[in-house]
Symmetry: C2
Subunit: 84 residues, 2 copies
């Protein structure tokens, strides 16, 4: 069953995809760098899965970004069942 | 089965707990504010579960912290199976 996408996950995924492309990396190559499966990276970029903070840290460091680069100006996510 | 704790999750959980206590909030009250179950907050503070970025954003905003406050100086986590 496909879960509804959280709007903040969608924003975050789009930013990530934009910066990944700007770095000239394919989804597959970047997923490999970060240590996750390429299909999982695809789900994250489409906002269908939520990054953990640990994966987030690997992402921003692989891309050479500031630690809050992908978070700046994001709205505060409304709580909802995230499987947590 | 108890999963091994990732060392970076342990560091992050400890920082979170320290700042939550500094803010004078009980684990239960803070979990309620953030919109997760208090037992889940306990697991996070002990590094037994990994925060998602969405929950992280709620946490730092509820505590009135800078967005990268809990991430500063954390080592880059080694990739491993996070259920991702």
């Amino acid at each position: 069953m496909k879960r509804a996408r959280h709007p903040v996950s969608v924003l975050l995924g789009k930013r990530l995809q934009k910066l990944r492309k700007k770095a000239g990396l394919s989804q597959e190559a970047f997923a490999h760098e970060v240590g996750i499966h390429r299909t999982y990276m695809g789900l994250i970029e489409r906002g269908e899965r939520n990054l953990t903070v640990l994966t987030y840290l690997r992402v921003v460091r692989k891309l050479g970004l500031e630690q809050d680069e992908l978070l700046k100006g994001l709205p505060t996510p409304e709580p909802r069942d995230e499987g947590e």
